[in-house]
Chain length 403, copies 2
């Protein structure tokens, strides 16, 4: 008998038919002799509908009241899923975030889980019940309802799996697993059987948004074995776990991120401390900087180029223009026509040929590389956005030749 | 400074405009220097929509999960009302039933309030906040959400007013108060300035459904002063309280109840214990019997006639036919064409002319009286349903002559 935590997102429970489908997946798992805890999000459009209702009444509503409002969404979906499981003649109990023991800090709208007291969940499991838990929500020290923010239900599921020492945490999505590239765009994209937490984190950061990062970090920290799989097909998904044998270079995937901006400052005085000044001011405004390139100093000046997410571009340029006296009058360029293409895989560092192979693929299709960045498990290049799709395809074909 | 509890039903918060209207009533009361606790129901059709969603998935859903589902309705309305109050720039906190300290028994769907621990509500009031509380819901000993059943929000409001020793509990409805007869039907129907708890109870039982009976009983028990008033007009409503001066006969109103059935058993053996047997069997099946008439015994038999609500008629006839051996083969008549017309007012007992005056009014319009029942504050007659409206009008005109 295994203890399985299953997580279903909003689209998986969007209507009565899908709720019944989820109930069948859950009860199949239960009937196979497992203990099952299910974490669900709000139904499809519920959250958007509630946000609209709130906006009509008060566009500047407090975050506390927004959390009070939005957390009703999961309350509806856990009750409906529990009813669907009852209809399958299995014993079930639905629990709200606070009933399942989720304590969070008080950051309404983006709260972090502090502890999970799973006593009630355990008692229900001991009683042979399937337990349906509202994801995305908890209670703060004032006994007020909080929501966890984006992707919060993934985090709820992993936290619960960690506390319960679950054998596996299954994250059901609308894709069948993690692929070597976007399967809708790249021919021959392959589903990975397994992948490490770090690789998953890099893939997520790089735009392959299957799993929320916080949830993967938490899974790594508590060694929770994850499986990403589809709620619509019965195919096995991708397992995320710590793999010990990484002797062989294993390329996990090719990703692109087109939501970036490349910002260049021309003719920065070549004096000590200027880079520190620039990037600390940016950090103070919550601008996350990714790849940084600095030209060799010449004539007492140098050029600094960096990338950031497109959402932060305007803020970044504003900070550079107004709060750093040394940059007064300097030319600042912002290019939103760039894309970042990355390859991810453990053991890359010890296989020096990998970068060359990637660059060769780009050379063969005549794509110019603007910037390069490498880490232990990742190589990224910044190229023109227009070339992004063909670059992904070429790199993928290079590493995963057609069989 | 007074402490006022205000209760608004589902139609009062049915859409954004009405929610804003309620927010204005609440903040006007707050700005006038009062402490204000607001109890709200789910928005207009929310409950029906949720019931429909549940029925689509599982028509036989457990009551526990139904309560989990339905209680999300008030959660939405308290959050939205709090947001509307924020938009009026007043400090406010919304609280769910359990956050406001409502403990109930475990009868899902029709739970009864056991205790209210108002510590959190008091703390918010001390902090000068308006407190918006979800009516209709509480928590049982297992920390599971329960709903109070019909009219539950009235009861929530009165219970909170009792525990907080509120100066007044205002029940906002879509009528301006309690009238001497249905104002839509009876010309010259007058709004009462005040009325006692017992009179209010009689009026409610008799079909003038302004306030839920349980809430009036609770208000009487804890001496909570009620006011019934409209959320749409600014007119003063009707105060419900214990009035000490009842020297004068005060007729409070004329009501009709057409949802009744008159059941007759012909030729019951005139032996001791038979009436006991009949009415205890009926009670065991939860059939509430109202007016009872027993003919004088003749030839060793008698006739027993009683009224019950039309909803119970079928059950009542069934009980009489199948579970009482003495009635085997006896003729049982069920007449659903009857109506009960009542006049209610304290001090009626000491004014013997009242009944005569009522009968006179009926005689004048040629209406035959089938049964009569009297209590300290009420006189009821059973008549033909077809005569109900004109009977109410005639009796009302007799007691409240046009001025």
């Amino acid at each position: 008998m295994s203890l399985i935590v299953q997580k279903f997102g909003g689209s998986s429970v969007a209507n009565a038919e899908r709720v019944r489908n989820v109930a069948r997946i859950v009860t199949d798992c239960y009937r196979a002799g497992n203990q099952v805890v299910v974490v669900v999000s709000a139904q499809g459009d519920t959250t958007d509908d509630l946000i609209e209702k709130a906006a009509e009444i008060n566009p500047k509503a407090s975050k506390r009241e927004m959390d009070m409002l939005l957390s009703s969404g999961e309350q509806i979906s856990i009750a409906l899923l529990a009813m669907a499981i009852e209809a399958e003649h299995c014993p079930v109990t639905s629990l709200l975030g606070w009933q399942a023991g989720f304590s969070t800090n008080s950051a309404y709208g983006s709260a972090r889980i502090k502890t999970v007291d799973a006593a009630r969940v355990k008692a229900e499991l001991d009683n042979n019940h399937i337990v349906v838990v509202a994801g995305f929500q908890g209670l703060n020290r004032y006994d007020d309802i909080t929501t966890l923010g984006r992707g919060g239900s993934d985090t709820s599921a992993v936290a619960l799996a960690a506390v319960l020492h679950a054998d596996r945490c299954q994250i059901f999505t609308d894709v069948e697993g993690v692929y070597t590239a976007d399967p809708r765009k790249v021919k021959n994209a392959r589903k990975l059987k397994e992948i490490t937490y770090d690789e998953m984190l890099e893939l997520a950061t790089l735009g392959a948004q299957v799993l929320n990062n916080r949830s993967v970090e938490m899974a790594k920290k508590y060694n929770v074995e994850l499986e990403v799989l589809s709620s619509l097909t019965k195919a096995p998904g991708t397992i995320v776990r710590e793999v010990t044998n990484v002797e062989k270079m294993l390329l996990r995937g090719v990703t692109k991120d087109t939501n970036i901006a490349r910002i260049s400052i021309i003719g920065v005085p070549d004096t000590p401390g200027i880079a520190f000044k620039i990037f600390s001011k940016l950090a103070a405004k919550n601008v996350n900087v990714d790849v940084i390139l600095q030209s060799i100093g010449r004539d007492g000046t140098k050029d600094i180029t960096f990338t950031t997410s497109a959402d932060h571009a305007e803020t970044a340029v504003d900070v550079l223009r107004t709060s750093i006296s040394e940059l007064a009058g300097k030319q600042i360029l912002c290019d939103e026509g760039a894309a970042k293409i990355s390859i991810v895989g453990a053991g890359m560092e010890s296989h020096p040929g990998t970068a060359a192979k990637m660059f060769e693929a780009l050379y063969e299709i005549n794509v110019n590389i603007q910037m390069i960045s490498t880490s232990e498990i990742k190589i990224s290049v910044i190229i023109d956005k227009e070339d992004a799709d063909k670059a992904v395809e070429a790199i993928h074909a290079k590493f995963f030749p057609e069989v």
